[in-house]
Symmetry: D2
Subunit: 238 residues, 4 copies
């Protein structure tokens, strides 16, 4: 058995899972700094507690279906759509569009960012990857950008989201780069396509869903999860 | 286009969906009474409100993923496991085992029911298809058994669950046949295999999930559903 | 138990599943002609053979997972995306846009259809609901439109897709209304929102997936389905 | 943000993903040898090519649904049932039963293995974790057991599957421990419950599904996957 020409038993002995994630998607082994960034992204995505839609969907399915762990994990992944976990993909697509403006039309980073902000706001969209309810600046962004800078891996992706942040601060309001925006920038600079913005989040998140699923099976009763609601339809007919 | 030799446009003009459900699974068109029983089962299965695990899982996925209706419906179906919606399949398998004892070993219905009750209780299992939290007798059971009796369709399936109910009442406690048990008995007498006990529930339930999904998209905010929990793990390390 | 104020046991006795599909989505019982149209749509959607992506995905999951019918059905539904089964939703959204142009901007049906065709073709999109590989005219379209005309239920939806077909024939090439376009037009005139264009297809299709799943369990071996491929990556390293 | 009391930004800087998989499931950080075993299991599970049911199901869904990567990944996971990817869970449950016989009833490893082999064969079951089509001895088993021995982590789990292999060789035929059996033994000795036998396979496999999904989107046409079949039902009626 080989992964892109590398013997699997040799990889089992010498490599880490993050090496193999990189290898399977890019067709070559990562250098040490690339591998560490993949690890950091997977770790940041692994678990956001039982309150996130992916964990809630997984637990609700486990509550009715205690014999098929694959069904609960699949349901958790299905909650990773546009409103939850979709910002990475959307931001990576935005970066791709922005950097293409720089490369193909010769715009400066700042001019490209202005163009993208204008297009998004006039379409009524929020800028994916910028802003966060709780944090003013997201400490995970600093970790990822620090790693990229130290290893001299930061490129047009990181530069473009920083331009985006600066334009947004001038023309809308301070919207610091959140972890989704940081991950998207970093994935761009590592050479991944837009779909990877969601897929790497899924790869990481499955580990948190797995740990919570074992907890649900072990500590909770079947059928425990109810969605609260008030019925406001017609009364029974007589 | 044909379904088992029947032209689809002719079916569109003259048949009902319940006719086609029967046709696709049994390879022939139903008689009127068979078709009415299929309709009654699909109607009984269609919707049990937002509180059931299938609806809760569907709504939770829709809450994070508002662009893919297929993802929300699929998650709702995944909640139909053993603890929720699984009693029909389990009861139909039990009936198949019980009636085989009658046919192959010459036991009476009562003796076969005694044997099955003994095996299930000594394995620590509850009897699927018997008992219900809210109802003493389930009115839906009476409707289904009434239809079968009127059309002279009731056979060994209905007879066996009644024997099961009688044995349980004598040896455990009064456990009236619930709607899952009634559906299983009826499906047995209509010639369906055990898997149909769950599948017909899924076919019916998808309609209720669909109606609730449109309601969720139209009337509710994204990310609204949270599972309540109390964190009882280790404290942050310093 | 009630569905929108209707007692479920009364519905089991007197109604059909198509009545209840209508009731759950629209909050009232259908008239006879509306119910017949719902039946016709569900029947047309029920099964397109093992070659469709939904059936292929269902059978592939069943091939690896023979203990969880819900997993196989869910996978079949997940294949109902944009490329397969998505034309109904897309066409219903197009009709809604087109008829809004008529109602809100006072355009004629023909002018509204011209505007929509222009917008779609300049965006590089195909017109959903028009054209078909095999048929020149789809006989299912005639059945549905005939029912709507006979019952005087046809309205702006049917009128608009006909205008679309006429504009396409003048400006592109003959593209007859296919079954997806006919279903979308009919659903519009029955008062359903765009999501119903995909959801009613899913409700119908689950019955065909169920019948094929029982066939797969009964007649086929586990692990039988393989995707053919040619490996063209790097050679094993030495 | 913390995982079991560990600050997430600190983990992003210093830990690997395998560390966090261990931490989330066991509530403590692994020692180096434990982490390396988790990496080796994830790597061994990551990808078995497009021919496995999980990859085939994922690609089939992607073929009909090109807008929702989460739907394709979820379908791939749903194929991980009993016939594909289920041997790890089944073998881990078997080991748990076997070692309980040793601990609670004072049997020797060999006697416990004899009992389990007898029970499984008289129930008509194959022994999960033993035997393989292609390999006589699986090189991945040697890697995993070597790691466990070197780090002095091997315990009752490894000992029991070896006893199982010896009993099978004496009483049935040579059935070498395959990678599923080796993973199950190792997970037992690392303190994981039976469900982890399937869940760690899913965590690893999602990375291979992700890489193949990007390939499917990038290199293949929509609707390309067809299940071959021969229709043998009734002829069209006239």
């Amino acid at each position: 058995m080989w992964y892109h020409g590398h013997d699997v038993t040799a990889l089992m002995k010498d490599a880490t899972f993050a090496d193999v994630v990189f290898l399977l998607h890019r067709g070559r082994m990562p250098v040490e700094a690339e591998r560490r960034v993949i690890d950091a992204i997977l770790i940041a995505s692994a678990d956001h507690g039982p309150g996130s839609p992916s964990a809630a969907a997984m637990r609700t399915v486990a509550s009715g279906n205690r014999a098929a762990p694959e069904a609960a994990i699949a349901a958790g992944i299905l909650a990773i759509g546009d409103a939850h976990g979709g910002a990475g993909l959307a931001c990576l697509a935005l970066i791709t569009r922005g950097v293409d403006l720089v490369k193909q039309q010769g715009l400066s980073m700042d001019a490209a960012a202005q163009r993208i902000v204008k297009e998004e706001t006039s379409a009524g969209s929020r800028l994916p990857g910028l802003g966060h309810r709780a944090h003013t600046t997201d400490p995970r962004t600093a970790v990822l950008f620090g790693m990229m800078a130290d290893a001299k891996l930061a490129g047009a992706g990181v530069e473009f989201v920083r331009a985006l942040e600066a334009v947004a601060a001038r023309t809308i309001k301070p919207l610091p780069i959140n972890v989704d925006g940081a991950i998207a920038a970093v994935l761009y600079d590592l050479g991944f396509p837009p779909a990877m913005g969601k897929l790497i989040f899924i790869i990481g998140r499955v580990s948190g869903l797995s740990a919570q699923l074992i907890e649900e099976y072990t500590r909770e009763r079947p059928m425990r999860i109810k969605i609260p609601y008030v019925y406001d339809g017609p009364k029974p007919r007589t």
